[in-house]
């Protein structure tokens, strides 16, 4: 029988890391991620894990230490948020281009200024092109499940890319949920020790991080892009195996009510739960609303989203981040691009919402649904990009 325990999002990630036989953790504390490494450092102190815990002086150093450790063949984890992720930015690209299968918990938080510790996706969206696989969890259970699956995806020999598991700051990181956890030995059998392809080994010297000038650099970038797009294949295997083990089925995209939906909302992370609650209530009144939640944001599940939305009459794309001066916010841009590519002429309204942790209530989303129903009826979009609930 599955064991159910009460954990916050941060504690659940730390619990998952304890079970994943991680060799090295190098991290620097930042709200609202602090609890992950704080809880994990207790496991280290108590001797419950044999992980090398490296206290570093900044996130830039944390990610640098992770890259070095990963290149030796170690299984590596770190966690950060907001300014911390921004400070890592430079090394994020190095981690992905040196093909280090690091897993990082990103507890999404707004970027300064003004300083704000609450949840939005500005941090991860600011680094969305860093070449990492990016996953968004909706609740604490998902944060736990994704963290374990992330290692298996990252370390697959066809992938060899780092993964971020994103969880909304405070909304998930500091909320206690009863979650089903796996037995230690089940995680151990699902996730055997990492088998690195290349390692730094004095007996077999290789050169890592060498110079590549215009005549070589481009080819390595194409390799990297190919590996990221191709990682869906490995994910499929991991999802099936994890389902067998846990009874919980994951995918690149989660859909609700899309069989007969006339309009749909697309959102990342915890807002998807609120959106489904609203959709469920409205469906009882005969309003055919669907909800899409891309679990995996990079690589972008184009095929799956296009397949799910092709019959809808209008779409609301919810973005918890602003792309200043751009035609749409990040997710809005992606959706508009794939609709254009697939020749689907579906009206899209892109809503930027919840910046700096501003709450988005069921009533807010109901208002969105009503606006989108109007767009579906008239085919007219008054504003392509809206700021939901701003004064």
């Amino acid at each position: 029988m599955a064991k159910v325990i009460g954990l916050t999002g941060d504690e659940a990630v730390a619990y998952a890391i304890k079970q994943c036989n991680v060799d090295v953790v190098a991290a620097y504390p930042i709200t609202p991620q602090t609890v992950i490494v704080e809880a994990f450092s207790e496991y280290v102190f108590n001797g419950e894990v044999d992980t090398e815990f490296v206290c570093v002086e900044s996130e830039h150093s944390a990610m640098s230490a992770c890259v070095g450790a990963s290149l030796t063949g170690a299984r590596v984890f770190t966690a950060t948020a907001s300014q911390g992720l921004a400070l890592m930015h430079e090394i994020l690209y190095i981690a992905s281009s040196l093909r280090c299968p690091i897993v990082m918990g990103v507890v999404n938080r707004a970027l300064s200024a003004p300083i704000n510790i609450h949840g939005d996706h500005s941090d991860m969206m600011g680094s969305r092109d860093c070449g990492w696989i990016q996953i968004y969890a909706e609740n604490v259970q998902e944060a736990y499940d994704w963290t374990i699956q992330a290692f298996k995806i990252a370390e697959d020999k066809e992938v060899l890319l780092p993964v971020t598991v994103n969880l909304d700051g405070f909304i998930l990181s500091h909320s206690i949920e009863g979650i089903k956890v796996l037995e230690d030995e089940d995680v151990a059998s699902f996730l055997p020790p990492r088998e690195p392809v290349y390692t730094i080994d004095p007996n077999n010297p290789i050169t890592v991080g060498a110079l590549a000038l215009p005549n070589y650099y481009f080819e390595f970038k194409v390799q990297q892009d190919h590996a990221l797009r191709n990682s869906f294949k490995a994910m499929g295997k991991v999802f099936s195996e994890y389902e067998e083990l846990s009874g919980r089925k994951y995918d690149v995209l989660h859909t609700y009510g899309m069989e007969d939906a006339e309009i749909a909302l697309i959102c990342l992370g915890s807002t998807a739960g609120t959106a489904r609650y609203v959709a469920k209530r409205l469906r009882e009144k005969g309003v055919k609303v669907g909800v899409l939640k891309p679990w995996v944001y990079r690589p972008f599940p184009e095929k799956e989203i296009v397949e799910a939305v092709k019959e809808v009459k209008a779409l609301a794309v919810m973005d918890r981040a602003c792309s200043f001066g751009a035609p749409y916010a990040p997710l809005g841009s992606d959706i508009a691009s794939i609709l254009y590519k697939s020749g689907l002429d579906i009206p899209v309204v892109n809503y930027v919402y919840g910046l700096g942790g501003r709450d988005v209530s069921p009533l807010d989303l109901e208002a969105v649904v009503n606006e989108i129903l109007e767009v579906a009826k008239t085919g007219e979009i008054k504003e392509h990009l809206k700021f939901l609930g701003v004064r």
């Binding site: 281009s97 040196l98 093909r99 060899l160 392809v197 290349y198 010297p205 290789i206 050169t207 890592v208 991080g209 060498a210 590549a212 005549n215 070589y216 481009f218 080819e219 390595f220 194409v222 390799q223 190919h226 590996a227």
Partner: protein
Amino acid sequence: MSEKKPLWQTLPIAGILLEPKSSLKYKTGDWRGPFTPKINQEKCTRCLLCWIYCPDGAIERVGDGVRINLDYCKGCGICVSECPVKAITMERL
């Protein structure tokens, strides 16, 4: 320049070089301008400061003395300015 280069599919991942010392094949001496360092072996006291300071490792020890490997010397002139007895001079070739 017309050397056939490998396609992206066939290169080792991440720009990793599996064969050590491959930089020896890259003759950076091509970068050198018209001036080339020359050692006056009679003035040279074998102090090895040039050998220490050369940023490219282009100064090699031969016996108890030194010589400049022009395959790798970029002609920066650091050896000239570091030599305490002015035994090295830049000369237009």
